[in-house]
Amino acid sequence: MADIRLEGVGHSYDGGATWALKPMTWTWRSARAYALLGPSGCGKTTLLNIISGLLTPTVGRIWFDDREVTGVPTAGRNIAQVFQFPVLYEEMSVYDNLAFPLRNRKYPKNEVDQRVRQVSRLLGLDDLLRRRSRRLDPGRQQIVSLGRGLVRSQVAAVLLDEPLTVVDPALKWTLRSKLKEIHRDTGHTLIYVTHDQTEALTFADEVVVLNEGEMVQAGEPAELFLSPAHEFVGHFIGSPGMNMLPAEIVGGVVCVGQADVGTAAGQSGDGLPPGPVRIGVRPEFVRVTGARTSPGVAARVTGIDRMGAYDLVHTRVNGHPVIARTAAGSACRPDTVEFLHFPEERTFLFRDEVRCGSLAPLNGRDQA
């Protein structure tokens, strides 16, 4: 159990021409459950392989507490890793598969047996222990692979690289809650790679969002949802993602087309320089009214998705799509004009994709 510290760690597969992982400094705190979230090809697996030592980073140093492990091979790092697709020792039984990492490390026989039985009970593999692993279906095989990752009691971290991709959806939920349970019991540091936001948000204490080799935000699930620091986080988390609407700051006031929607507040409460800006607001917080109550933006309704528990109202503001999530049975009709209101505390301003401030009330300023 250790804090895993990355110090300016970056990796390039082509000798520095492009970064698969841009140099970053970050600490994975001991005993926490992390989700590493990002689209395919954003560098998640590269980052995992660097931590486990399967890959030596092009630049930077890695520390486990105060021991530098940058040059230490995988076997010397005491990391467990589970891959996206089942990797089994096919001619071995399930039991031998689970015992393999322990036997290689010369654990005493009775401890091997005890650990294997514990893990197999947790993952529901008891009935399969004597079966030859290659004869299991892929879902079960993956559970065995998962078990091999969890069988060692003393590991610096358990890295899970989209481990539930091939598992049956019904079983997925059970396994994910099992994993949380195991995490609670063992206190292992878990890093769980996924591109599925639901998986990330339900699993982790802390979610790290990675995009194009760059860590764009890290925080608790609610924080990422309520206060995204980057346009990508807004898009990627939430379904549908955050609305992004081009706007302009003129004299400290944010206007969309002709309509003022509020004043611009910088990150530290000061104003923002004038110029173009993008307004980000989640569909959940957009309020739709039939008449203009200040300060609102006129929008043409283009369609309504009835989702059962709620409706999604699709609109266009000056040609840009904005979605609002309203209570079921919305009275909006296509091709009518409605007014959208952006609550100040949930509306943010972005420049160059990075959050630069938020919306503040107009404070009695005159409306145009």
Partner: protein, 319 residues
């Protein structure tokens, strides 16, 4: 498209296959049938049947024909039943050659399979050296059989051959494959290992290359030693290619002819007179067509049966 085929099929099929009802009503019935039957595909097999008949079945039948007759001349022949089969199986010379050939094949497999796998494991996986290694390893496979024989015939000679001279004059061991049975046997065996281990190596190399990277990564994570990685990841995944390698090497070595014929001519004495060499002596040298026919059929049958047994054992044990 499929409907068209079905309709056309039933009409044509009606003429060819009597079981299918002919005419328009037949077409309608075929369409209604949830599983339309169409036997026309058998015609596609016809070219294969014809060519196999000419290349294999008909020649084989002439051998069968000889094996049950005593042929004095083309016009003067007597049917002798299984007489030749009986005499061939009782012939001590044939029996000795059979044991000799079986022993040779066993030694070939025991040497070439492990050696080939070892070679495949140490061959470089990428870069220029991969190509160099592949070409070097594949080189013996490109040499014609009788050239291989000639190479070794000269190479192993004590007077002018590099190998034979080195053994005699540098190592100080008296080595002469034309006089000593053991030396002759070793020469033929080493020649076969040199000639055919590359085949096993290339098959195993291809098998190793097909193992996905995560298997090796998982082995590192699990702290597996190099031996454990080989034993539990590489070897099990070579099962398929090694099955093929064993079958090929068994068949080929059991039927070996050209190389020992060139190097030793079956001698000294009968030391390297394998089944095929003995067979050609009976068939071509003595022109005993009856015994040669019976011999050929038994030889053929034995190779078939042993291959079947190998294949069954190797594929069953994997389940």
């Amino acid at each position: 498209m499929s409907e068209q085929t079905t309709v056309a099929g039933s009409q044509v099929g009606g003429e060819v296959v009597p079981a299918t009802p002919a005419g328009g009503s037949g077409a309608a019935e075929t369409r209604a049938d949830p599983k339309p039957r169409n036997n026309r595909a058998w015609w596609l097999v016809l070219p294969v049947v014809v060519s196999v008949a000419f290349t294999a079945v008909i020649p084989l039948m002439t051998v069968v024909n000889f094996s049950v007759q005593d042929v004095f001349s083309p016009s003067d022949r007597i049917f002798v039943g299984l007489e030749w089969f009986r005499s061939v199986t009782r012939d001590p010379e044939v029996r000795a050659a059979f044991v000799r050939t079986l022993l040779f094949s066993a030694q070939v497999l025991l040497l070439e399979i492990p050696l080939g796998v070892a070679l495949a494991v140490v061959m470089p996986r990428r870069g220029v050296w991969m190509s160099v290694a592949l070409v070097l390893v594949a080189l013996p496979l490109l040499i014609p059989w009788n050239v291989v024989g000639t190479i070794w015939q000269i190479f192993a000679r004590g007077d002018i051959g590099l190998g034979g001279w080195t053994i005699n004059n540098v190592l100080g061991i008296n080595f002469n494959y034309t006089l000593d049975s053991t030396d002759a046997w070793i020469t033929v065996l080493v020649m076969d290992v040199w000639h055919w281990t590359p085949l096993v190596a290339l098959l195993a190399y291809a098998g190793l290359r097909s193992i996905p990277g995560p298997y090796f990564q998982a082995a590192q994570i699990d702290g597996a030693s190099a031996w454990a990685t080989f034993r539990h990841i590489q070897l099990p995944r070579l099962r398929g290619v090694l099955t093929i390698a064993i079958l090929l090497r068994f068949m080929d070595s059991f039927m070996i002819y050209t190389e020992p014929f060139v190097v030793t001519g079956g001698g000294p004495g009968n030391a390297t007179s394998f089944l095929s060499i003995l067979l050609s002596k009976i068939a071509v040298g003595q022109f005993d067509l009856g015994p040669a026919g019976a011999f050929s059929l038994l030889y053929f049958l034995f190779v078939q049966i042993l291959c079947y047994v190998f294949f069954t054992v190797l594929t069953r044990s994997g389940r």
